[in-house]
């Protein structure tokens, strides 16, 4: 529901990065969105398109990578993707596994072109 304000803050970051590199142009931005982030990628992309349309940042491509929920087992160090909320370790059965990714919302990378 707050995708528009998130898109605004992502664009602020991109502007900041752009100012640091006056000699190049940002052409593409990579986002990582965890499945638990509570974010609708379509709504985010839509907000993003509206905000950059007709600005100096356009054209700017967005690539979104959905990150699955991953857990780590404290006993055997196994990392695994949580499917259907099954959080017990698939190897040793320990139920005390912890979330290591899947709730992130980050600007992962930028692709720049020398102008």
């Amino acid at each position: 529901m707050h995708e528009l304000s998130l898109a605004t803050s992502i664009i602020e970051t991109i502007r900041g990065e752009s100012r640091k590199r006056p000699e190049s142009r940002i052409v593409k931005v990579g986002l990582r969105i965890g499945e638990l982030a509570g974010i609708d990628p379509n709504a985010l992309e839509f907000s993003f398109d509206i905000l950059i349309k007709d600005t100096d940042l356009a054209p700017l491509e967005v690539e979104m990578e959905r990150m699955p929920r991953r857990h780590l087992c404290p006993t055997c160090s196994r990392e695994f993707i949580v499917d259907d909320y099954e959080t017990d370790c698939p190897d040793c059965g320990d139920p005390r596994t912890t979330l290591i990714s899947g709730d992130e919302l980050e600007i992962a990378w930028l692709e720049v072109e020398e102008s």
């Binding site: 529901m1 707050h2 304000s5 998130l6 803050s9 992502i10 970051t13 990065e17 052409v27 986002l31 638990l36 982030a37 509570g38 974010i39 909320y85 959080t87 139920p95 979330l99 709730d103 992130e104 919302l105 980050e106 600007i107 992962a108 990378w109 930028l110 692709e111 720049v112 072109e113």
Partner: protein, 223 residues
Amino acid sequence: MSRIDLREKVLNENDRIAGELRERFARKNALVLNFISSPGAGKTALLEQTLRWFPKKLKAATLTGDIETENDAERIAPYGFPVKQITTGGACHLDARMVERGLDELGADEYDVLFIENIGNLVCPSSFDLGEEAKIVLLSVTEGDDKPFKYPSTFVRADLLIINKIDLAPYVDFDMMKARKAARKVNPNIEILELSCKTGDGIKEWVHWIQKKVHLKRKAIAS
């Protein structure tokens, strides 16, 4: 063409302020609880009951969020503890800066427990750290027993689930076991309490939960 690794969290600024809030609460030794639920699940009613039966030896304060109106603060004020309404004017969640500002306006600086009533919404508030010690999700029986599967982002991050309006369960086909199982499947570590703000059932156990948390906190600091 070249690629630059950035790895910058979109909510960086919120997390930074939440970190400052957490330090501020730690200095006071205050227990801070962030209440999240759908609209109408009974967050304000629970706060009314909580403050009514609040342990005499402890001090409470409340920040209550709403999109419009000061109604919630007006309901909570008669219980004699400081309360400040945060009106977001449209935003679907509270963020750390709103809490920071709300605390400044609250005026009271001495509290053992700070209750933060988030905006009624089971999606957005879960992404925003407010510097709290525990997130508490409220689910009323009229909403259905499959809510944890529908809104995993909130249930995964919650420390405690409070199932409210249990007096209505027989009339709305709410399966308590099913709801508890769903919550535990989404979050195996979640604690669960059942209560009714209308009849007062379970309120004692809930107030006891708060006392236990305060006690554990003090013990941890003492050692």
